[in-house]
Symmetry: C2
Subunit: 198 residues, 2 copies
């Protein structure tokens, strides 16, 4: 990976390239767009593109990180260290999915597309591990305030929630109906949550 | 779609083409392989290929049906009208996933890749609906013999199981570890199953 640009203008022009590449790769697959496709879609110059990215693999790694950042930004309950409300996270996931037009997951869609490239595979697995850790953090906070079952292992609960999210988005996208996502999240959440009188 | 071949030899040569195309499309994406790629991979002749398939869309529809047939063949509990054992189905799913080398789902991997082509989209959604119906049939049989909660709607339970299967396979593939699939299926099954003294 080349170093990130240090100027605001540099960051913006790099970001325009990554955004255009992310859109193409989400639509056609991680491996599909050529550097020329990305050039055409981003409107960047060739020297600029190769100034920021050594090649296609570099660009794919940048796209994976970019999609992860967008996913996490849409789930503020995960980063808010005062949030102990797993239902709030569920609502954020559903809202983000709705505003994507019931699209596929920006990150999950790449699972299976990194096979055979160890760098891409490790990058994607690492980002999913960070996502799972962030959900586990929310579960642990809910346990500390008595909103979640203290007997459950937060990492196991987080994996179960992330699995439900991925399977739910897939089926919801396929059926053009958000119900499978809502139902699968609720099923995964239900053994975890402690009923309150509210 | 062209009519299916009527001779055994014709069926075998068509099947060889579909199998080769299925392998390429599973690895690279539904839209990636050209007719020439399929020709090269299958060893079929050009006239033979176009005798069985009008074009790329025809071939993709055939591949979707082919992958569905393989998926269902690996889950005999769904077709066995005397089977009322949801755990047997779960074990079949886990065994098939293990023998695929913890690969991605042959059918689920295409979700998101049919967007923009109504025929492919309807085909894939229709196959998933048939899969869900087959699981619902198993749930209904388990309800009739008292092995599953009779209050649960079989279609809703089947959707929840299918979502868990898809999300579980995704995460298991990503982590190269079958545990996420096993855990997600068990979580989805647990509200449904009635504990027996066995």
């Amino acid at each position: 990976m080349k170093p990130l640009p240090t100027t605001e203008r540099g960051r913006r022009s790099r970001m325009a390239i990554v955004s255009a590449a992310a859109k193409l790769m989400h639509e056609r697959g991680l491996a599909a767009p050529s550097m020329d496709d990305v050039l055409a879609a981003s409107g960047a110059g060739k020297s600029q593109l190769y100034h920021y990215f050594g090649g296609r693999q570099d660009l794919r790694v940048a796209v994976l990180h970019h999609q992860f950042d967008l996913v996490i930004a849409a789930q503020p309950a995960l980063r808010d260290q005062t949030c102990d409300d797993i239902r709030r996270w569920r609502d954020e996931v559903l809202a983000a999915h709705r505003s994507s037009g019931l699209g596929t997951c920006p990150l999950g869609t790449f699972v299976g597309q990194t096979d055979g490239d160890q760098v891409l595979q490790d990058t994607l697995a690492g980002l999913f591990a960070r996502w799972q850790d962030a959900i586990a953090g929310l579960v642990a906070r809910a346990q500390r305030t008595g909103r979640a079952d203290p007997e459950t292992d937060p990492a196991a609960a987080a994996l179960s929630l992330l699995t439900a999210l991925q399977g739910g988005i897939m089926l919801a996208h396929l059926r053009r109906d958000p119900a499978p996502l809502q139902d699968s999240l609720d099923t995964a959440m239900s053994p975890l949550l402690i009923r309150t009188s509210q």
